[in-house]
Subunit: 197 residues, 2 copies
C-alpha cells in the first residue's frame, strides 16, 4: 500500500504495464509458453517486482481492474436499500457491463484462443461474486441463504453471458444477454419465457 497519492499513481502504471505485457505475450504464445520472467522483462521490471504486484501469473491477466472494482462497489452502494434483491441485482449487473464490452471482448478472445485460461477466468470472477454477496447479505431483512443464492445466481448470469457472447457477430448485445438471463430467472425458466426468444 502507498501512503502518498503520487505513489499510488506510479503503482497503477506499473500494474498496467505488466498487464499489457502479459496480455500481449500470452496472446501470441499461449499461457504455458510465457514465463513470469518474460512478462517482467517485457514490462522492463524485475521478476521479483512482478510478484510484488501480482500474487500469481494468471492474476496479471485476470485480476480485476481497480477502477472496475470501485465502479462495482459504487453501483452496489447506490443500490443499497432497494426493496427487492433480484431486480436490484439486475440493474447493478446490467449497468456494470454497459460500456465495457471492449474489455470483456479482449478476455473473451483470449480464452477462445487459449482454452486453458478458462479456469483462471472462473476464479477471477470470484471477486464479483464476493462483492455481490456482501451487498445482498447486508440488505436489511434478507435471509442469509436467499442472499447467498441471489448473489451467486447473479454472478452466474454474468459468466454465462460472457461465455455465450459472440462479439464478432454482434458486438452490441452483451448487456442484452445479461438482461435476458435475469429475465429468464425472474420467470423461473418456464416454457413461456423460453418462447420469448
Amino acid at each position: 500500500m502507498s501512503t502518498r497519492p503520487h505513489r499510488e499513481q506510479i503503482r497503477r502504471e506499473g500494474i498496467r504495464a505488466l498487464q499489457a505485457a502479459a496480455l500481449s505475450l500470452v496472446e501470441r504464445h499461449g499461457f504455458a509458453a510465457v514465463t513470469v520472467d518474460d512478462i517482467a522483462a517485457e514490462a522492463g521490471v524485475s521478476r521479483r517486482t512482478f510478484f510484488n504486484y501480482f500474487p500469481t501469473k494468471a492474476a496479471a491477466l485476470f485480476d480485476p481492474d481497480p477502477d472496475d472494482a470501485e465502479r462495482l462497489a459504487q453501483l452496489l452502494a447506490d443500490a443499497d436499500g432497494a426493496p427487492e434483491l433480484w431486480p436490484a441485482l439486475r440493474r447493478v449487473c446490467t449497468a456494470f457491463v454497459t460500456g465495457h464490452e471492449n474489455v470483456i471482448a479482449v478476455r473473451r478472445r483470449l480464452i477462445e484462443q487459449h482454452p486453458e485460461l478458462d479456469q483462471y477466468h472462473r476464479t477471477a470472477h470470484h471477486h464479483v461474486e464476493i462483492a455481490l454477496h456482501e451487498w445482498t447479505a447486508r440488505q436489511p431483512g434478507a435471509d442469509p441463504y436467499v442472499a447467498a443464492l441471489a448473489a451467486n445466481t447473479a454472478a452466474t448470469t454474468l459468466t454465462t453471458s460472457f461465455a455465450a457472447w459472440q462479439p464478432d457477430q454482434d458486438p452490441a448485445t452483451l448487456v442484452d444477454l445479461v438482461d435476458r438471463a435475469f429475465a429468464l430467472i425472474s420467470t423461473g425458466f418456464t416454457r413461456h419465457s423460453d418462447a420469448l426468444h
Copy 2:
C-alpha cells in the same frame, strides 16, 4: 487407460488410497504444509505415480469420484426427454445429493478448516457443471443460451447449498437446501417466495 477389467480395479484402489492419504494429511496439517511426496509416501507409492493418477495435488482432494460421475451421468440419461428443463434439473440435482451427505460433509469440513481450499473446490465443481450443460444442450428444442444458463444456474444451486449447509447443526437437510434453491429460482426470487421461510 486399462484394457483388462482387473487393471481397472487396481487402478481405482490406487486412486482411493491416494485420496484417503491426501484427505487425512491435509486435514491434519493443511493444504500448503502437505507435499505430494508426503501423500505418495503415505499411500505407499512413488511421487511419480501420484502424478500418473492425478494431474495436480488438489485433484486428489476434489476430483470427482468415478462412481459419482457415473451416477450423475445415469441420472441425466434417465431424465432425457423431460418436457421442462428446470424441473428435470431439480429432480436430477436433488437425487444426486440424496444419500451422499456424508461425502459432502467431509469436504465441507475440510474447507471450513482450511479456507484456502475453496478455490480448488470451485474448479472441481466444473465437472458437474459440464455434465449438466451437456445434458441441457442435447435436449431437443432447447435454446443454446437457455440451456447454458439453466445448467450453470443449477450448478450454482449446488455450490450455494454446499456452502450454506451446516451439517453439525442439522445433518439431514442438504437435499432440502438444494430443493429450496430450485424453488426460489422457480419463483424468480419474489418477495413472496422469500417469505416462505
